[in-house]
Symmetry: C2
Subunit: 146 residues, 2 copies
Amino acid sequence: MQIPPRFERVLHKARIARLATVDSKSRPHLIPVVFVFCNDLFYLPIDHKSKRARPEKLKRVRNIQQNSNVALLIDRYSENWKELFYILIQGKASILGNKYLTNHEKSLSHNFHILLREKYKQYEKIGVGEYIIMIKPQKAITWSNV
Amino acid sequence: MQIPPRFERVLHKARIARLATVDSKSRPHLIPVVFVFCNDLFYLPIDHKSKRARPEKLKRVRNIQQNSNVALLIDRYSENWKELFYILIQGKASILGNKYLTNHEKSLSHNFHILLREKYKQYEKIGVGEYIIMIKPQKAITWSNV
């Protein structure tokens, strides 16, 4: 699906989102994530903050491998509740690694790394991990309090 | 389970959390929520921002009625990534309404309304809905970047 153009600016500007995945027993898992939005797809780096855990052992990765349904939430909180809003994206996630990528995926991965470093200067110091979560939106729900 | 005391202050102070629920097809749903944390339980008002939708039609309510597994995330974003942290609560949710409550639940509901108005002055003007989501934590995961 195509994200309605009026949300694009918000999605490009947002610094953080929350990602929900579901395990094999239908229990949700939820974490804050940084992301890049490009050509109607969302890209999330994996495990950039810590090298302790191997990416394939991360709960979000194991969940996506078993169940590709995910939800991504971009919202704004303010003490003035007239300013509250959120965009909820529901879609299908897949894991892109460095190995076994098609040429198309390699090109997506390359663009992602450039966009990620542009959006988050923090990556100049810490480097980007080799795995990426790619989310293809199927549904977008928006809510605002006005 | 008891929440480790070192997290209690963060949980009491946090103004917003994100709630993930799961539908009957194992697809996650995710929204920002206000909440009160009291005696190791989390309480979330339902539908306080809009009277348009009947509470029992809300996706989060229907999901919880079909699958009580939920995740609640309290996190902090900062451009200084050394300050990032999150607390992920996984647990079981139930819906408390005004009808058919046991005396114990009535007392919980009464306390919740007092605490909610104390924490969020916004409720002085808009009033609190009659339904509450109560979450009993089963697991707490914390992460910080230090």
